[in-house]
Symmetry: none
Subunit: 132 residues, 4 copies
DNA sequence: GTGGTCTAGACCACA
DNA sequence: GTGGTCTAGACCACC
């Protein structure tokens, strides 16, 4: 079964980010297993009707962050998971996102409980290998 | 003690965003009370060693979202708190922040439980008008 | 025929306001439909012979009030119509315009009846998707 | 009975505008009659705790638009009403305000009927010599 | 002194 | 090519 990636046109997230996120999730959820190949840059670009540069950029970032490996002439494969950022660096980055969420919660006058509930729902939806 | 704003150089958040967030927090936490003035555009720009336009952009956004009011020739003042956005619009905006947090969590391979815990800590710290 | 925007030099309204108003009308009248793109910041700036920042400021306001959406690197698009502001906030904003009209009417010594009549005419002209 | 002017601190309208508007209304409503004197610049500035320049500027505009006359060494008096703008010019100016109101009505998705009703209320309230 | 608007031009991220 | 951010500096209205 081929791993499929979908681009949401209207999304605020840039296309290359959407690709990165979906591959990341595929690996995290186990839908993509170590050693498995992902679509070639050109093929995925054709499928999604986007610029190959955009796919290449996404894959480059995935290689950089340790999710993919490239084998010259053969394509991209799911890498053995390794951490590229130190724990401290990862927490610093995630804390910026947490801060922003807390700020928005205050700014929009929403109950923290409501935020936590929505966050948990989102985590559940994204962690199970979607049947969709 | 005067209300102070600090810009973090290494942050991914743009300067004007950092100003918006900190004033928002100041108002939400009660550190800034209704009718109180905030530093003038030029003064804050001098303090932070940034361009006045950058401060003006941040303040304009705060006026639009109902946190500040302006009196031409006199300055910006903390506005009476009011609900500007519909519930649907507020959820739409908060969901963008939640999505970003979920994506980062997966991308950085951090346990959702850890995120939720950190978020709860942050809420506690920010919702009680800290002694700080 | 492409959607065109015109700037009136002698107007008291600032340029960016004129752009905001005309795009708003275009969307409200249906001349611009959902998903359609508006001229790029740079192109419109060239056409109107104004600074790109001025266009950007207008577009940013239109995004904030829910009329446009942005896709970085691709442009601005007409957003699906949604209610962004609470009823109270909308009345607060419209009352500012009403106040200004009443003040001008008194200052210019014009009969209120004449104002009401002109206003009604204007509503009729603008609310039916004109053949123009 | 002295003619009193009140300044609303939180208003978006500049102070000098508020003075101009209130004197204009006083004349239009008949509360101030031809030949009657208005408070001196210095006295009004003291009363309102504002800068005398601000009062002077307002009075200058009222003289310019024909509502007041000045008699050297004696003060300012309500002038015999005369029109300083041509009818066409007055309509052009008022039309800008009408346009803005129509735009806001479209932008905020408010029923024209509601606008007309609020406008009429406002006219009524402002035309009768307020007992307040 | 204050804010509001506009220009010119730079650098970056994204497609 | 697109938008997003920031700087530098101008001119105006208002206090």
């Amino acid at each position: 079964m081929a791993f499929t990636i979908r681009i949401v046109a209207g999304s605020t997230a840039p296309i290359y980010r959407q690709i990165v996120d979906q591959v990341t999730r595929g690996v995290a959820s186990g839908e993509l297993s170590v050693g498995e190949s992902v679509p070639s840059v050109r093929q995925l670009a054709r499928e999604l009707v986007i610029n190959p540069n955009t796919v290449a950029k996404a894959y480059a970032e995935l290689v950089d962050s340790g999710f993919l490996e490239t084998q010259a002439g053969k394509g991209f494969f799911v890498a053995k998971r390794r951490q590229v950022y130190t724990k401290a660096e990862r927490l610093r980055r995630i804390d910026e996102s947490i801060d922003q969420l807390v700020n928005q919660t205050l700014a929009l006058d929403i109950e923290p409980e409501e935020i936590v509930q929505r966050l948990l729902e989102r985590f559940e939806k994204n962690l199970k290998p979607a049947s969709e």
